[in-house]
């Protein structure tokens, strides 16, 4: 006989599954409503449609290692014969499930991720060899303990809260070295230098392609909407690397063709914006969609679900593990601009440079309510941008659709103000 809790859980699983599918379809519909979407975006629309169609199954037959936060060196996981999958979720349906475990005021990314793992534990338990949680922000750290209690094989990847000192750097290198050794235990596969070289090259190719997209977004003619870019990078969380690369190559080819023929995706005069702050992760593409529906175009971003995830590449000097593993560690710490690090002035500098390189006219700062690091860093960023003469719109939001009306009013006003500024200058 099924107990009441079991029944309740089964009910929750069912309704959440339905909500998730609805949420997905709704977001996909809003994404595809835009005119002239690139044909090659269809791959990504289909990917998410299929992923959440009925239930949420892991899209690979291989052993999966879940990662939370982008500081986990995926290269090591691939080299150890498993598939890394970024678990950070953007689903409101999961956010509501997670609310059972975490305080109401906590960050929706953490809530949704915890909720997702709770709900799908029976489904995924077998193939999830480990969930790796780097010690980034407090909420992720504490959620790791909750996941452990649920029975997940949680691996805590110790990370320093600063990156400037050599001590921090060496501590992190040791941490990653230990991770590499432990991974071999977890998967039972040895990490070899030649395997690691291959994986690094493969992931470098992903970075190269992402940078290519980034470069195309620099073009005077707007070629692709930011909402589509976020879909592409959200796909990177879960997709098979090789198919992702093929799809991105097709997209790049199409955009280059459009550029050559001077075909624009939107009004040539559309205000050029940059999105930073808490990560937009599918299906929560609320803010990017609103911004672009209101007539703006997101030409650059500085978020951990897109630019920060894919921009950097491992650079090693010697082809042996003694050099490659610390090189991997460096790649995940040194250029990182996550607000859990202090000081984080590199984030300001990066934004300043991007504002210049992508000719950005305004910055949209998205902060999830409950995501304190981003909420607190807002001031620092806004000061820098004010100095550079770039207006910034600060939006506090979450995964629900309750604030849609309020958000769109503010976004429209911001975009109008940028247009007004132009007329004045």
């Amino acid at each position: 006989m099924q107990s009441d809790t079991d029944k309740r859980f089964a009910r929750m699983q069912k309704t959440t599954g339905l909500h998730l599918a609805m949420e997905t379809e709704e977001t996909l519909q809003r994404l595809t409503e835009f005119p002239d979407n690139p044909v090659s975006m269809k791959y990504f629309y289909d990917l998410f449609h299929n992923l959440y169609k009925d239930g949420h199954s892991l899209p690979t037959a291989k052993k999966v290692i879940g990662t939370i936060c982008l500081q986990v060196p995926d290269e090591l996981i691939y080299a150890a014969g498993a598939t890394p999958m970024r678990m950070c979720s953007g689903a409101y349906a999961y956010d509501q499930v997670g609310a059972e475990f975490l305080p109401a005021k906590s960050c929706p990314v953490v809530k949704a991720t915890t909720g997702m793992l709770h709900l799908n534990q029976s489904l995924w338990g077998e193939s999830m060899a480990s969930v790796v949680v780097p010690t980034t922000c407090d909420q992720k750290k504490k959620s790791a303990e909750i996941l452990k209690e649920m029975g997940y094989p949680v691996y805590i990847l110790e990370m320093p809260s600063s990156k400037d000192s050599d001590d921090a750097r060496f501590y992190w290198q040791e941490s990653v070295k230990k991770f590499a050794l432990d991974l071999q235990q977890i998967t039972g596969t040895k990490i070899t230098s030649s395997k690691l070289q291959d994986v690094i090259a493969e992931m470098a190719e992903c970075s190269r392609l992402f940078r290519k997209l980034n470069e195309l977004r620099r073009a005077k003619t707007p070629l692709i909407f930011g909402k589509d870019i976020f879909l592409v990078t959200s796909a990177y969380f879960v997709d098979d690397m090789a198919s992702w690369r093929r799809a991105v190559r097709r997209l790049i080819a199409e955009l280059e063709e459009r550029n050559k023929n001077d075909l624009t995706i939107t009004n040539r005069q559309a205000p050029r914006l940059l999105l930073t702050g808490s990560p937009p992760i599918f299906p929560n593409l609320k803010v990017p969609i609103l911004v672009e529906q209101a007539g703006g175009i997101i030409v650059a971003d500085e978020v951990c679900s897109s630019n920060r995830l894919l921009y950097d590449t491992v650079a090693y000097d010697e082809t042996n593990l003694n050099d490659m593993v610390p090189a991997l560690a460096d790649r995940y710490l040194k250029p990182c601009t996550c607000p859990c690090l202090t000081p984080n002035t590199d984030r300001n500098r990066k934004l300043e440079e991007m504002v210049k390189s992508h000719r950005v006219e305004g910055v949209v700062y998205q902060a999830f309510s409950g995501c304190l690091p981003y909420e607190m860093e807002q001031k620092q960023i806004s000061n820098t941008l004010t100095e550079a003469g770039i207006p910034m719109l600060y939006l506090e939001t979450d995964y629900s659709s309750e604030d849609l009306g309020q958000l769109s009013t503010r976004i429209e006003a911001f975009i109008e103000s940028i247009k007004a500024r132009r007329r004045k200058n």
Partner: protein, 332 residues
């Protein structure tokens, strides 16, 4: 800029400079160690370690001449010998000013030997050693002490300091006595005579014994630590006095730097400022050997540039970086 020039520069920036450097170093090594066989000698005022103790050398290090000349009594500095000193210095300067510290990264035979030892270590998959930043800073001062000594000791031979007796002639060319170049480079032309302890006097015995000890440390040290000796090299310290005036430069655009640290990773000497210094444009530090591996490893467009007379000749590009990093691996 014309199309042809653009594509030419693109090809240069995509090039694997390290490979070029490897062959260039080998050629310089042959020239400096065996040049005599081909009747080539480019002089004895070189800003690099060709060694005077190598019989068929193609050129040799200025420090030998400098030490020799410093053993001059004060009053003779203003005579004809003073002109000799000046001419020596100017010749050195003329060589140096063109290539700056690239003499270390591209020409120095002792540096090349260290790079070969590094390649050997890599082949054996032995882990390399590194200094922590404070240790690096402290050890880095040694080269200035050596430089001061190699000037002051010979001066003490020709003159009396503070009424102390003059040093005897066994103190001649003190740095050469302890330099691994003197012991190691002649070996390449089959001359083992420098691997001996000179028992003719106490001073000579101490110097030559110290020289052998340092040779041992040099070989072991540079097997473990990349460019181990360069951190202590008084020639490198001497270079730095003139480096700001040199025509070949390494420059950095701090605004483009993401502080990803790739350059610091690649740096054989271990100069942290290359990654963390966002202010200075001229980024050649005293320990830099201008191998330009940092430029190769930099993924930001035009962040690091090698310039000659202000004109960029090799610079960091996204395309070049990915080409070099992916090497033969072609991800589909």
């Amino acid at each position: 800029m014309s199309k042809a020039l653009k594509s030419f520069r693109r090809a240069i920036n995509n090039a694997n400079l390290s490979r070029f450097r490897f062959y260039f170093q080998a050629a310089s090594f042959v020239l400096l160690v065996y040049g005599g066989y081909l009747a080539i000698n480019i002089g004895d005022q070189l800003p690099t370690f060709g060694c005077i103790f190598t019989e068929h050398r193609g050129g040799s290090c200025y420090l030998f001449g400098l030490q020799h000349q410093m053993a001059t009594p004060w009053k003779s500095y203003l005579s004809g010998r003073g002109i000799g000193i000046l001419v020596g210095l100017l010749t050195f300067f003329a060589f140096f000013i063109v290539f700056n510290k690239a003499w270390c990264g591209f020409a120095c035979p002792l540096g090349t030997i260290q790079d070969w030892l590094t390649a050997l270590r890599n082949r054996f998959k032995v882990r390399y050693g590194n200094y922590s930043e404070p240790v690096f800073q402290r050890l880095g001062k040694i080269k200035y002490i050596l430089l001061a000594l190699l000037i002051l000791i010979p001066m003490g031979m020709g003159n009396s300091f503070f009424g102390l007796p003059k040093l005897n002639h066994d103190f001649g060319v003190p740095f050469c006595m302890i330099c691994p170049g003197r012991t190691v480079l002649p070996l390449f032309s089959g001359d083992f005579s420098q691997l001996a302890i000179d028992l003719s006097s106490k001073t000579k015995m101490i110097f030559t014994a110290l020289g052998l000890l340092i040779t041992g440390i040099f070989l072991a040290g540079s097997f473990i630590k990349k460019r181990f000796f360069c951190l202590f090299c008084p020639m490198s310290a001497f270079h730095y006095i003139f480096a700001k005036a040199a025509l070949l430069r390494l420059s950095k655009d701090g605004a483009k730097c993401t502080r990803c640290g790739n350059c610091y990773r690649a740096c054989d000497v271990g100069i942290r400022a290359i990654a963390d210094d966002l202010e200075h444009k001229n980024i050649v530090k005293d320990d830099c050997m201008m191998c330009f591996k940092c430029v190769e490893m930099c993924p930001e467009e035009g962040c690091l540039k090698v310039k000659f007379l202000g004109l960029p000749i090799y610079e960091s590009t996204e395309e070049g970086f990915f080409k070099r990093m992916q090497g033969h691996n072609n991800a589909k």
